[in-house]
Symmetry: D2
Amino acid sequence: MKDGVYYSDYLQLGKILNAQALESDKPGKVHAHDEMLFIIIHQSYELWFKQVLYEVQSAVDILSQSRIADNSPDLYTVHHRLKRVVTILHMLVDKIDILETMTPLDFLDFRDMLRPASGFQSIQFKLLEALLGLKMQDRYGKEYYISQLRPEDAETIRNAEKTKPLIALVNEWLERMPFFDIQKYWTETAGSDSHSFWENYKEIYSSSLAEGEKNNLKVFEEQLLSHDTRPEWSLSPRARRAALFIMLYRDYPLLQLPFGLLNVLLEIDEGISIWRYRHMSMVHRIIGMRTGTGGSTGKDYLSGALAKHHIFGEFAALTSFLIERNKLPELSPALREKLGYNS
Amino acid sequence: MKDGVYYSDYLQLGKILNAQALESDKPGKVHAHDEMLFIIIHQSYELWFKQVLYEVQSAVDILSQSRIADNSPDLYTVHHRLKRVVTILHMLVDKIDILETMTPLDFLDFRDMLRPASGFQSIQFKLLEALLGLKMQDRYGKEYYISQLRPEDAETIRNAEKTKPLIALVNEWLERMPFFDIQKYWTETAGSDSHSFWENYKEIYSSSLAEGEKNNLKVFEEQLLSHDTRPEWSLSPRARRAALFIMLYRDYPLLQLPFGLLNVLLEIDEGISIWRYRHMSMVHRIIGMRTGTGGSTGKDYLSGALAKHHIFGEFAALTSFLIERNKLPELSPALREKLGYNS
Amino acid sequence: MKDGVYYSDYLQLGKILNAQALESDKPGKVHAHDEMLFIIIHQSYELWFKQVLYEVQSAVDILSQSRIADNSPDLYTVHHRLKRVVTILHMLVDKIDILETMTPLDFLDFRDMLRPASGFQSIQFKLLEALLGLKMQDRYGKEYYISQLRPEDAETIRNAEKTKPLIALVNEWLERMPFFDIQKYWTETAGSDSHSFWENYKEIYSSSLAEGEKNNLKVFEEQLLSHDTRPEWSLSPRARRAALFIMLYRDYPLLQLPFGLLNVLLEIDEGISIWRYRHMSMVHRIIGMRTGTGGSTGKDYLSGALAKHHIFGEFAALTSFLIERNKLPELSPALREKLGYNS
Amino acid sequence: MKDGVYYSDYLQLGKILNAQALESDKPGKVHAHDEMLFIIIHQSYELWFKQVLYEVQSAVDILSQSRIADNSPDLYTVHHRLKRVVTILHMLVDKIDILETMTPLDFLDFRDMLRPASGFQSIQFKLLEALLGLKMQDRYGKEYYISQLRPEDAETIRNAEKTKPLIALVNEWLERMPFFDIQKYWTETAGSDSHSFWENYKEIYSSSLAEGEKNNLKVFEEQLLSHDTRPEWSLSPRARRAALFIMLYRDYPLLQLPFGLLNVLLEIDEGISIWRYRHMSMVHRIIGMRTGTGGSTGKDYLSGALAKHHIFGEFAALTSFLIERNKLPELSPALREKLGYNS
């Protein structure tokens, strides 16, 4: 055997594979076979949460720069790593199949021994929500779940919520989109500046609405054209305009990657939301209307979080404001050039 | 080439592969590339709905017999085919990934050409819901969706709802469970008859409840011990007791397959429910708050159906009434023998 | 916060989440972002290998009894736990998608730092192969891989190969199948004993063979009818006959679970084989014809193991000896009763 | 009900859902339940093959232009549609799970009725292979399979093989990569022209090779630096250099999409290869060593095709020629600017 790195040392398997202590193996208890599965699957989830946090944190670090140079690989890297997060989330969802091989009766064999521990206490998952942009005030049942945490853990989450999350950094990046304020890009077509571009767009959008959709126009004005921002909004109207512009003109080289980035945020939201839904279904199937080990009403909490904890929903909402491609205002030659490669 | 069956004839590919006529290819329209995907994926879904209906119908036919002989392969066959349905449902869910490769803007290229067609009009899906046991009166927004159908299609569904669905047949099969009324099986333990078995069980269950769960006891009495049936119930108390008994004593040979059958019903419900959830998410991502092509408020309808259209929820609810395995009343030797193989 | 079990203590997250030390973070090296993913995914695999070993070991323990009572839950438990193994294997396969988000260039950033560590050194995977039934002499390139292990690890595997693996226990269980030697079950039909049953079967099988398949008959005689066993065989002819009988008459209640058990063994083999194939493809995509970190020729080794390491192939081979259901010899009433429930 | 498009008309469900005629339902035969599944799954595969062909054909059409403008959405569209093909392939693989719910004995109920039809006769699959770039002379067992086809079908495939396939178009697109021959991009660094860039690269590559890999250098010279092309090669050395350059400098904006395109070709190959592998395993499990319905030796044919029918393997092979990112020659400022956006 050659010198150098050895597999089990490198992976610290001594720690990893000796970290399973069953409550049901403690003195006076009866060994519950399925408790091993329960521990292993949760440890596996936590390993992957660490990886997801690592990737999202690296995206946050990159986007925290005051300016993302178009010609740096920065945006490309952010996109690539968040795509990886999506791939991981898919696997986390599928993995629920494994836990579903545990029947309700098998879970009862050790369930009471775990009280009051519960998945609420997964600090990493809370940190992930915070890092993406969920705020404490938007958390479902927040007093309740804070009460389940050790003070130092509650503190950890509160601190995390004080730093700028991914969604805020994306908002800023969108607000910085440079060509909106440079008049030369807007003179030849669609009015004299980006303002008249959007006025024009509003007309086209308005005429595309079906009878039952007329109310959308008001929402469009509030969310895209106003100067207000609102405390409950994660995105400013200016950032929303930039995002909508990207969705509409994504075929131009300079906008392809930004479009990919917006998309991957929606995929993350969707991945987490599907995970929540499957998790809720699984819990319902395994504990019915019993309370969770943490004392919650189980399914109700999960159902509340499912409905409230969408983080990038404001991007998804922009979909309502698209118009047909063949009605898109043509961009000025100067802007078209700006959005392309050197030629 | 030898005589005999030829692949493309056998599969009638002449029909299958010439059934894609794009609305956007009609005179005066502009070809929308993604419309082909839209057609193919829906045709593929309908093919699989046909298969699922075929399997569920065969289960219904078998269970419609007045008696299922223990030693016939009937129950085994029913279980096997419903398991296949679960496998198909999983694939139908995953397939949504493909439709999600269509961006909102790409859909807009042909969306208006489809009005007022919509997925509401999938007769096969409605038939499946009916065959499993969803009743017209429980359908979300039923007036609305009936109004979207051709009269003959609405009639087809109404007729389907008049025949006995799977859940009713399972209820009857559970009610017939033979050993509950035969006194010799209950004399030696747990009181003098199956009635006292359940009284005894109630005591054990009651003492297992945590503080916040005390209300469960009343529900237990209503749903399992009462003599009432209620119009809104799909299962009678007698059938529920049989089902709970199966869940508790599933380790006995005679109950293994019945347990498998109850489980597969839950898996079907879960599969359909996950399908609805992912479908809803996908629609939300593609049309936002626009109305669906059928004129519905899109996501709202899907969200309503998601919440209301659980069919086997009364089985899932029984999970709440389980007790720990080590507290299970021991069965009488006569009954234990009855539940085993010849020896 | 209530007293009792706390999530992060229970799961020993202090160990689990602090076991990632990147080689590329060592002094003098340059941080390679993707090394974290590389570590986490391997740790996650090892966690699941522990779970798979735990389940297979429990099956081995149960089957090590001198007799499995029909009316005990033993076989049911074995089947349930091996089914879980199949579910886990599926997930392990899908997980490769995650590693494939690492590009070859990203791997090069830290690949040389890992030498000579390699996946060959996963003791748990070797133990799993041994526990299922792969013998040292059948291992592809065995001298080579032994040379990669610390002596104590090589010893561990050798010891594991000395205990009776799952396939040997299944062989014994099949050989014990009780009704083959009891004459009353065979008198009324199909000749006077089980011997003439198989002679009869051979005739039917023979007449079902197509021109190009005639050679199968000789194989049938060798593998099923002879009295020999051979060192390279895991199954004896007697056990094979029992297995084939189970496959043919699986509709009888007593044979349903045994059939399920044979099936799940094939699913395990298929799961491992798909895992090997996808692993090989992934390695090929990431390192091409470079040598692996362990010094192997990478893809070649994996390709060799893929071809040689099927464990339950002798069961799969029995498929070739099936005949059509409508040509099956009818069993005697006594045997039919024996294979059913008490009635 | 409103006028306009109706779901079942639009999807031509009258054709789609009435195209299942079971051989086992013909006069004199016995209905085989699982034949429906067998038909439906094959029809579903053919539907998806149509979609895959449609997407690949659109990519071929775009790449057939004499020049792909950097600032057109062409490459973006090609990439997007081939990505969709990958998503579809994943689903086609997973779908095999459904067919595996059919046991060997169930297949025997109708297998002989299908002779000599077989999956060999899927014209669409052959067309796909041809469109991607598999040549008749590289097909495994080609005389055999041609003999299984109607003359007009064999003709269809031969014709398809005469048109330029995707891989040839990609080869041409790579050969056109404009900046290799423009001297100003190469003067300041790494020698005086692109030739000396590659000589320099060869040195670095050479010094990165481990002892057992020294032979790679010769292959590198042959495949990348020579002026030869060879009839068995799909890629010219010039095209390979361009592809390797893209892999190495993919972080530059202009190369991100080309890198994505190369990657998606590998993903298509991998998807098809996994599909072949799982198909082969499934066939092996269902028919063992019996001949396929088409008279082939079943598994052997599939195994041969698996090994030989990689189409984009020459791209995968380039992985072997990568060097570490920190050893990459720096590009000249002029070239770096060329590879970026306007600024």
